[in-house]
């Protein structure tokens, strides 16, 4: 077993185990902690795939932003997640059936197909960072989507601030 396979097993177990814990645990604080752990596991997987920039951005946004906002955000957020507001609805078993069936179908399709490409052996992670930087600012690349996403984030921030403002 090579290093990448060992890394996959370690980070994959963290990501999936913490995701299950985030969904099953009742307390909002423990759920937020587990969500942060799952995001860390996913970040480790992204680094092992050679995408450290995406892992860094994901860690900053999800762990630094969302998990901290849920735990240390405005007092109304803490009130919203008190025990009587949490729990599962009465159709939780249907959720289990749908999730397990969908996951089983996808995994069965994956392992019964012959699609199994090999990664490029000449790949250099630092070269991919430079390529991403150039693609994000070039007209032929993704500069227009980047501007649209920045506008979307600005609009979302302004809209969220307007929504939570006390009358």
């Amino acid at each position: 077993m090579v290093l990448q396979q060992i890394l996959f097993i370690i980070f994959g177990t963290i990501a999936l185990g913490a995701a299950v814990a985030a969904v099953v645990l009742r307390g909002a604080f423990h759920s937020a902690l587990a969500l942060g752990g799952s995001c860390l596991g996913v970040a480790g997987l992204l680094v092992s795939l050679g995408a450290p920039i995406i892992a860094g951005v994901q860690t900053l946004v999800f762990i630094g932003g969302i998990a901290a906002l849920i735990r240390f955000g405005p007092s109304s957020l803490r009130e919203m997640t008190r025990p009587d507001q949490l729990g599962h609805n009465r159709w939780w078993w249907a959720g289990v059936v749908v999730a397990v069936a969908l996951c089983g179908a996808i995994v069965w399709m994956l392992f019964s197909s012959s699609f199994d490409p090999a990664p490029d052996p000449a790949f250099i992670p630092s070269g991919s960072i430079a390529a991403l930087g150039i693609a994000l600012v070039s007209v032929e690349g993704f500069v227009l989507p980047l501007v649209v996403v920045v506008l979307l984030l600005g609009a979302a921030l302004a809209g969220a601030a307007r929504l939570v403002r006390r009358q």
Partner: protein, 104 residues
């Protein structure tokens, strides 16, 4: 060189997506439902980067799409949490089952 096969990453991404889907379908609280959506988009992220690494490393498209997914998730969670806080203030509940005014 033997590396982890692409199917391992795709199966893990499917697992993350389905755990998040369960949270969206079965949890009552708006904040925990948003956590489920974040888990689903984490699965999408793993999928995009794995396909980029194994199929299309020559261009930066996979990484760029993954970056946009992270940004759009942030915007969606921001607005979702703000909506949940606004609903809490006007209705005094964060349980989505109790928000039935559109049915009336």
């Amino acid at each position: 060189m033997t590396v982890a096969p692409l199917t391992w990453y795709l199966a893990l991404a499917a697992g993350l997506f389905c755990v998040g889907l369960y949270a969206v379908l079965a949890r009552r609280n708006a904040v925990t439902i948003l956590m489920g959506i974040v888990l689903m988009l984490n699965g999408v992220l793993v999928n995009l980067v794995a396909f980029w690494r194994y199929v299309e490393t020559a261009t930066a498209s996979g990484q760029a799409f993954a970056l946009f997914v992270v940004f759009i998730t942030a915007a969606q969670v921001l607005v979702g949490l703000a909506l949940a806080v606004a609903l809490w203030r006007s209705r005094g509940t964060a349980v989505v089952d109790e928000l039935e005014s559109l049915k009336e």
